[in-house]
């Protein structure tokens, strides 16, 4: 692949996603504003206004219609993008499982934000976690660069013939969406070549071969169709790994189903999602300097759940701390339960601790994460802990 080296730019995460979409130039984009996603659709609207993309840009009247429009336009045969957050994602909920069951590779950026109530515009993962079981692939980004990279990788995974599922690229609200970082863009020609042409399956607009989409199932077909989605999800793991490899060839930037930092010889591992992965890497460095062998890992692909990789990382460790920016009220952090399940097949299960943190945008500092990790090293942590809660 021909590679042109581009200069680094300073850009915020929303801008980076919009920039990636401009380079991809989707056929249709549905737009509805919600903080902290709004910059994406605003930036993109400028590209439309200036004729820099050929996209049909539809300012819908709600998120329910935004996702409906996307599912339909993708079924019709158009590559289709949208973006939302929090209440917007909640308002789309009815259409989330419908979109995935229709097997259309819609791409959606979610600027993660706490879900009401009380109303709170700051970052946590309550929105993404509530959408977890709806059959969408979910990617997380730990910085602006990976938010941009994910936006380019996402359609490749979603549109793969063996996958054909919609995909969410998550980026932490404000921390990534609004903070300006240094980022290395990819040349637009290279992006276009990497993403390729959209090849829809049985598009509605192919009227000479009429197909019926979104039909009624009895129990047996419903069950079988759900199982086909399970199989497609399983495939998405393999496909993601392949696409990551190709992406590395193009850019030199390396992603895995689970990104790892100093895990090999670690005795204690932190599993964490999104922008806090960076904060955790700094925490790891500081603790390593003090002679404590810790490591950090982040599921880059959260759905499908990369449980084999997590089990491999956890194998032989003394303890694992799972950091959740969401709490399943009345139970645990959602990732905790899943990591415990991933560890269940290990010969010797590490001690497993859950840290809820960053809820509604609560501080996530190195000192908070370090305090948490030290408590698992000392064995003073509870099974479930509320890190950084001030009141």
């Amino acid at each position: 692949m021909a590679k042109k080296k581009l200069e680094d730019i300073a850009i915020n995460g929303d801008g980076a996603v919009a920039y990636a979409w401009k380079q991809i130039d989707p056929d249709v984009c549905a737009a509805y504003p919600i903080t902290p996603q709004t910059i994406i659709v605003e930036d993109f609207s400028k590209f439309v206004a200036n004729g820099e993309v050929k996209t049909e840009y539809v300012c819908v009247e709600s998120e329910h219609s935004a996702l409906t429009l996307c599912a339909a336009s993708c079924s019709a045969g158009a590559r289709t993008f949208t973006a939302t957050a929090s209440q917007g994602l909640a308002y789309m909920w009815e259409m989330l499982p419908i979109t995935s069951a229709m097997r259309v590779p819609v791409v959606m950026a979610v600027a993660n934000r706490a879900v009401s109530g009380p109303i709170n515009i700051n970052n946590d993962h309550g929105d993404a976690m509530a959408a977890r079981d709806t059959g969408w692939i979910q990617m997380f980004a730990d910085n602006v660069q990976s938010a941009y990279d994910n936006a380019i990788i996402a359609p490749r995974i979603a549109e793969h013939p063996d996958v054909q599922l919609p995909i969410i690229t998550n980026l932490d609200g404000f921390i990534l969406t609004h903070a300006v970082e240094r980022m290395t863009p990819i040349d637009t020609e290279d992006v276009k070549k990497f993403v390729g042409e959209f090849e829809p399956v049985c598009p509605l607009l192919d009227y000479k071969h009429p197909t019926s989409h979104g039909m009624l199932d009895g129990p047996d077909f419903y069950y079988a169709h759900k199982h086909q989605q399970v199989e497609a999800m399983d495939k998405a793991l393999e496909v993601s790994e392949q696409v990551f490899k190709e992406f590395k060839k193009l850019t030199g930037r390396e992603y895995h189903l689970v990104d790892e930092y100093r895990c090999d010889d670690a005795e204690y591992v932190a599993i964490i999602l999104g922008s806090s992965y960076g904060t955790m890497q700094e925490t790891v460095d500081q603790m390593r300097e003090a002679g404590i062998k810790v490591g950090a890992a982040m599921p880059h692909i959260y759905r499908p759940w990369p449980e084999k990789e997590l089990a491999r990382i956890m194998k032989g460790k003394k303890a694992v701390a799972i950091f959740d920016k969401h709490v399943s009220l009345g139970a645990y952090g959602p990732m905790y339960s899943e990591v415990v399940a991933a560890a269940a097949d290990l010969e010797k299960m590490p001690k497993m601790y859950n840290f809820i943190y960053g809820i509604g945008g609560a501080d996530t500092s190195v000192s908070i994460l370090k305090g948490a990790m030290e408590s698992i090293v000392k064995g003073t942590a509870d099974k479930i802990n509320y890190a950084g809660m001030k009141l």
Partner: protein, 315 residues
């Protein structure tokens, strides 16, 4: 375009096949077939959840010979708009050459109530699509519950007639007027008993170059408690009593059509609401003397709306 003669219509390709699972005598497939006769261009059909959708899309079978999409209950307009947006994009890019049409069929529940926002949004944005409301005046698919299209005095499972209630207590919403207020190029009320009027209106809707809306009375033998053989007669009676006037609004200009025009011109008689009430089981209780004031209110409301329509069509 071909003329609207039975001989010609008979030659058209079948888009909705027989063998669907709607009740015997259901007015919905009747109406849909007439609407689909309004265009010979390739088209994509979209459906909102309801009787018609669940009965024609039972996997692994389909009653459709044309591309068909259904997503959910309240978003038929957005679904159709999504297909149309894809079409606009691909057409501009030269990937599609032909002109195509887009139509959404939805019940009154999906249109007057849960889907009103999506409908309003799609019409306001100007998607080139026809939205057809199959108005059977209740949520039939879930078992005859009231909608805001249900007429006053109707006995439904959520507005039951009882010892202190005459059934639905409110007048039906004038959705057609709300659609007219969107200033879209074509709005009409239709009835499947008058196939010629309906096909003509569908043609105009498909050809108006922008969003079009047709609201059609669609009798439901099960919900109205009528005999399946009476469907067409019931639709006709709705028009003859002025419960369901036939008219169209082209670029804001009102015009009565078919029997309604004749009634306005005094060429045929306007029948009393009691004819409408007496023909249907859902109004059976209104025959009791104690609900006479409800019948009076119904008649007064019909008269008021009818006179307003005559005024508007003279403007």
């Amino acid at each position: 375009m071909m003329s609207t003669s039975l001989k010609n219509l008979n030659q058209l390709p079948v888009k909705l096949t027989s063998g669907h699972r709607l009740c015997a005598g259901c007015g919905e497939p009747l109406l849909v077939k007439q609407i689909l006769m309004g265009t010979q261009r390739p088209l994509v059909v979209s459906l909102s959840t309801g009787c018609f959708e669940v009965s024609t899309t039972v996997y692994p079978y389909t009653s459709w010979n044309v591309p068909l999409i259904h997503t959910a209950f309240g978003n038929g307009a957005a679904t159709c708009a999504g297909v149309e947006a894809a079409y606009q994009s691909l057409r501009k890019q030269g990937k599609i050459k032909e002109e195509m049409d887009f139509v959404n069929f939805a019940g009154d529940g999906a249109t007057y109530d849960i889907g009103l926002q999506a409908l309003s949004g799609a019409m306001e944005r100007g998607h080139k699509m026809l939205y057809v409301c199959m108005n059977n005046e209740a949520y039939m698919n879930t078992g005859i519950q009231r909608s805001s299209a249900t007429g006053m005095g109707a006995d439904t499972t959520t507005s039951p007639a009882g010892s202190v209630s005459p059934g639905k207590q409110e007048y039906s919403k004038d959705l057609t007027a709300i659609m007219v207020a969107h200033n879209i190029p074509y709005v009409a009320q239709a009835s499947p008993h008058n196939w010629r009027d309906t096909v003509e209106k569908a043609k105009k809707g498909f050809n108006c170059g922008g969003p079009a809306f047709i609201n059609a009375i669609t009798p439901c033998p099960r919900g109205w408690r009528t005999s399946p053989s009476m469907t067409v007669d019931m639709a006709q009676l709705a028009v003859e009593t002025c419960v369901w006037p036939l008219y169209e609004v082209v670029d804001g200009k009102y015009a009565l059509t078919a029997e309604s025009l004749k009634i306005a011109e005094g060429k045929i008689e306007k029948k009393p609401v009691t004819d409408w009430i007496n023909a249907q089981g859902r109004y059976r209780h209104l025959k009791e003397e104690r609900w006479a004031h409800v019948v009076d209110k119904m008649q007064a409301n019909i008269d008021k709306r009818w006179e307003k329509l005559i005024r508007l069509s003279k403007d």
